[in-house]
């Protein structure tokens, strides 16, 4: 079930409840019935019950919205998880493949989402050649995702070469972090699929 489907019954429910609480008809005059005080008390009880129910419902909605929002955030962050590469390589490592595979169900359940794949290189290598290396890395990710049926026109590649390092120091650990492809969501709506999100 998608977010929009979940939201619809909740809205209907709110409207129904709202109608009950807002336009309660005045009680008919009944001389043999309860006293005016009793009637007032009963009415107050009823109003309280309705208000409590409204509050409970709103809280449930709020929690559901929070849960969905968290699931969307998680899905977004999964889509944006960057992958790293070996030195001078654009081949996808086993570790990178795991990260990429987690993106696939989200991309499938969010057909409007478009991604920008931004390739980066470490500072070794020539300035201009590293632009091409970053490009190759982004292309290799694009090809991998396309292989899983993600339309290539949803994936745009570009390269920053060595010009936008994550870490500014000259050691293997920093270089390894800088050899990467970053993902940025450039459009569309992230939709959390039933199987992918946590159970309702």
């Amino acid at each position: 079930m998608r977010i929009k489907d979940l939201a619809f019954p909740a809205i209907v429910m709110t409207l129904v409840l709202g109608a009950c609480g807002g336009s309660e008809p005045p009680p008919p005059p009944a001389p043999t019935g309860p006293t005016q005080a009793e009637t007032d008390a009963a009415r107050a009880d009823s109003i309280a019950r309705v208000q409590a129910e409204e509050a409970r419902q709103m809280e449930a909605e709020r929690r559901e919205e929070e849960r969905l929002s968290a699931a969307r955030d998680e899905a977004r962050s999964t889509l944006e998880d960057m992958v790293h590469f070996d030195y001078d390589e654009s081949a996808i490592t086993a570790e990178a493949e795991q990260i990429l595979r987690r993106k696939i169900p989200i991309l499938r359940s969010s057909p409007t989402v478009r991604l920008r794949l931004e390739g980066h290189a470490d500072e070794r290598g020539s300035t201009e050649y590293n632009l091409a290396l970053g490009s190759r890395r982004a292309e290799s990710i694009s090809e991998f995702l396309s292989g899983f049926g993600i339309a290539a026109d949803r994936l745009m590649t570009t390269s920053f070469g060595e010009e936008r390092p994550l870490v500014n120091s000259t050691d293997e650990t920093s270089w390894a972090q800088n050899r990467r492809v970053e993902f940025s969501i450039t459009g569309g709506e992230v939709v959390v699929s039933e199987e992918d999100g946590s159970q309702q």
Partner: protein
């Protein structure tokens, strides 16, 4: 070793590869040298030569231009030093050598050439000056050449450039060769925020100027053949690297239309000035393309495919193009030469199967006979500047730097000097190497600079009033 060489008609494209074949068997000692490529000679392009002593007789400026005369004299003396063609003698006060030219005295002082000059205000209202130069041949005891040079007012942005015209004329008089004083170097510089903007600096290290302020990554500048425009790649606006052209005088800018996906990088002008070649990476098809600026038309595919062909550079006659490519299937790019319209490519960088080096960023000398590039010559992963001769005679590859890390060489208009990005213990900067003497000069120290490109001679593109007028 299999070579792709097919000799194109009309040009002598050498193949250094054959040389490597020979050297492999015979010079195992060279092959063992730690900081050089097997078979590559360390050192200079030419035999060391005699550098004649040149003295400067203090320029006179009368009462109204004496300060300016001294300034002009200093500019010219420095230009002559930077030309690496003379032993420029320290200046001697007029009080010691007299106002007149005493050839015998200068001969005793060891001078071979003597330069004297005077500066006077132009008679019109332009605020400009006239510089008179006399070049004396001390050995023959006679004036060798003399000339008049029009200078704009000292406040004019082109004032120093106009003086550099005189310096280049002196090189022309003495050696019959082109100088490089009337030129600038364009490059990108990384700022604190990680962006890169374009800057220029004059050949003598003066006039450090910022050219762009786009707040994005802008790099790989290239000069139009007349020096009036630069083209470059920038991510500005669209967030995608695209090729732009900027008129340096009018500040008018235009963008090369993008007809396809992918990053547009490493532009270079065809020497005909009409076309620009560049690389496209990513997208549907990568490779080198060319585009006609004048007709605003037609992206033409030149080379490339499933590999990256990058950083093209034209031979001065526009018939050939050098570039680097990973087309051999290893992660180590090599330098190739092919016809400028595309076709079979010949390998230029030294290639030893299993011991491939990493060679990129070729730049074709304006004289046509040399290619400069940089390559990884040791296991430490550092790069050095290399120069390959592109001719049938005297096939040679020379390594010009040995210290630190050195990248992205670009030829000066004199076809003798190269500017490159040098990194030493103190940081990064622009350096100039004289390929004849091996002498290295610091041009700009301590800035995080990238991919410098030396302009052609800017003499023709200077404003009215700065052209030399011979008497």
């Amino acid at each position: 070793m299999k070579l792709l060489l097919s000799k194109p008609k009309g040009i002598k494209v050498l193949l250094i590869i054959t040389m490597y074949g020979c050297f492999q068997g015979t010079s195992s000692v060279i092959a063992q040298t730690q900081d050089s490529i097997p078979g590559v000679t360390l050192g200079l392009l030419y035999e060391s030569e005699f550098y004649p002593a040149l003295a400067v007789h203090s320029f006179s400026g009368g009462t109204e231009a004496s300060g300016l005369a001294r300034e002009i004299e200093t500019i010219i003396a420095n230009d002559l030093r930077y030309s690496d063609r003379f032993e420029v003698m320290d200046s001697i006060p007029r009080g010691l050598v007299g106002d007149g030219i005493d050839y015998e005295l200068w001969d005793q002082l060891g001078a071979v050439w003597l330069l004297s000059g005077s500066v006077q205000r132009q008679t019109d209202a332009s605020g400009g000056f006239i510089l008179n130069l006399e070049l004396h041949d001390i050995v023959y005891g006679a004036i060798h050449e003399q000339g008049r040079f029009l200078l704009p007012s000292a406040e004019d942005a082109d004032f120093r450039m106009a003086v550099h015209v005189a310096s280049d004329q002196l090189i022309q008089w003495i050696y019959g060769e082109l100088g490089m004083a009337t030129s600038r170097i364009a490059f990108s510089r990384r700022s604190e925020d990680g962006n890169q903007e374009l800057y220029t600096i004059d050949s003598d290290g003066e006039n450090f100027r910022q050219i762009t302020s786009y707040g994005d990554l802008t790099m790989s500048p290239t000069w139009s053949p007349n020096g009036e425009k630069i083209a470059y790649t920038s991510r500005k606006g669209t967030g995608l690297p695209r090729i732009y052209e900027l008129d340096m005088a009018t500040r008018e800018e235009r963008v090369l239309p993008s007809e396809r996906n992918g990053d547009y990088i490493t532009p270079v002008y065809n020497p005909n000035g009409r076309e620009i070649a560049f690389s496209v990476t990513g997208g549907n098809r990568s490779g080198i393309f060319r585009y006609n600026w004048l007709r605003n038309c037609c992206l033409v595919h030149v080379s490339g495919g499933r590999w990256d062909d990058l950083s093209p550079t034209y031979s001065p006659d526009g018939k050939f193009m050098a570039f680097n490519s990973n087309r051999l299937g290893t992660p180590y790019p090599q330098i190739f030469v092919m016809p400028a319209i595309g076709g079979e490519a010949d390998l230029v960088s030294p290639y030893i199967h299993g011991r491939e080096g990493y060679y990129t960023s070729p730049d074709w000398a304006p004289s046509g006979d040399y290619l400069a590039f940089h390559g990884r010559v040791s296991r430490r992963g550092r790069y050095q500047i290399l120069v390959a001769q592109i001719s049938e005679s005297g096939q040679r590859l020379r390594q010009l730097t040995r210290e630190g890390n050195n990248e992205d060489p670009s030829w000066a208009p004199d076809a003798r000097h190269l500017v490159f990005v040098g990194t030493r213990d103190w940081g990064t900067g622009l350096m100039v190497v004289d390929t004849a003497s091996g002498k290295i000069r610091m041009l700009l120290r301590g800035f995080d600079v990238r991919v410098p490109e030396w302009s052609p001679s800017l003499r023709e593109s200077l404003g009215v009033g700065s052209l030399p007028a011979r008497q």
